[in-house]
Amino acid sequence: MNLSYRVYHVFVRNLVSYKRFVVPTFIASLVQPLFYLITFGIGMGAYVGLFGGKPYLFFLVPGVLMSAVGLTASYECLFGTFVKMIHEKLYDSLIATPVSAEDAVAGDIAWGVFRGLISGTLMMAVAMAMGVFPVSVPAVLLLFVCMIFVGVLFGSLAMIVTSLAPNFDFFNYYTELVLTPMLFFSGVFFPLDNFPAWMKTFSKFLPLTPAVSISRAVFSGVYSTALIFDFLFIVVLEVIAFTIGVKLMKRRLIK
């Protein structure tokens, strides 16, 4: 793995080009959380009553926060990277400079994380405007740390898909058959307690489930030792996904 500080150069390249897309992506990043929080939080929240003594929104926000980060990082590393690789041939000119293929791919994952953080921040702002606050200021900081881990994990997983994608349509399999269903099996919208045992086991191995558990604990300040395993699971999965994602992308870029 030939990684260097040049990851940062690739990140900056994305930042410079982002200037032109700031407004549309900000609007998208704002509307999406509003949609979730208003429809599910207020609309459905009215029927489900209190969750652990608090309104449904307090249950919903920590989960939606992580899924927003994960989805944004995924989309960036799927569609964004694919366009740069195939249509703009950006990677071809990058690897002819001292920037290595690994630097370039890692720089794009870092960019996906950054985009995820923007989504997460906007989501948090919307939640706070609706009166949903994390338990303390350190909790807010800790949530940002969680977002970074989730961003790297989903960005890396998306890179694996991108490295294998023959065309844009291929991404539909991943977004429609993996990412979207995952939202409903990871305890974002409702607790998993009532699932049959096999489904509970299945959801435990989805990458979003531990992230949502941790996020919810940090948000409410109620911790348990099980969270350590959730965290370790994320870290291990992340290291594996990153390594495979970068390796496969390198194989595709260098012939």
Binding site: S17, K89, L94, A96, T97
Partner: protein
Amino acid sequence: MSSIITAKDLTKRYGKFTAVDGISFEIQEGECFGFLGPNGAGKTSTIRMIHCVSPVTAGTLTVKGLPCSIDNRTIKKTTGVIPQEITLDIDLTVRENLMVFSRFFDIPRREAKTRVEELIKFVELEAKRDSKIDQLSTGMKRRLLIARALINQPTLIIADEPTTGLDPQARHLIWQRLRQLKSQGVTLILTTQYMEEAQQLCDRIVVMYQGKILKEGTPRTLIDEEIGKDVVEIRISQDQDEKLIGSLAGFSCGHERVGDTLFFYCRDGHDIRKKLVELDLPNTVHRPATLEDVFLKLTGRSLIE
């Protein structure tokens, strides 16, 4: 002059397909070296190995004494690449393209700013400094690719078909710039399908075909050795061949029938010219031999003596 690039039995395979088949060559410092050949001859595969974006399958390849490999950042640092495809960053302006690229070489910002302004002037894009890439013509894009390749002040420049799809004005401007760079002592490697381009720019060329080097030499010696000095093209129906070849037999010219034309390749065209006037044939062209004749002879058709 010392050699800057040395290739020995260089081979590139993609799966079962052999793109470059054990070629050997040396490129001297400060010269312009051309790879000529039809599509799929292995030119691009060869130069991609030289600038370290494609791994060497077998054989050895060194640049400035360093072995070429994917992770050789040292070679990449002092090499400028003008790619065949337009790989500009379409999200950025002309100036931003160069500024962002300067980062990849760790050029300090202040220094980069000066270089970018100089390069924009060098490729005559001052008026387009803040335009986006889709507002540029193909010629402008190619010029910007040259500027981009120079941002790191390379001592080795690799140009992969740098004038494909350009109008004559743009092509001549690019040739001038490339010659200017060469006069500054830069080593230039060029691939091209345009024989005129090779004749204009290259000190030495190799003709590649099916992954192998067929011939190597200066454009002049290749023409002299392979073709001679003069070419006579006679558009005439095939049933006249025998008679015509018979009447020109005394001039020791090679001949070849291609489609509707009978070609004569001559060491010295002086006498045959007189004979042609005597024969008074319509549709006859008499012209000096060019690299294109060499190219066609080596890669396309075989000369029948």
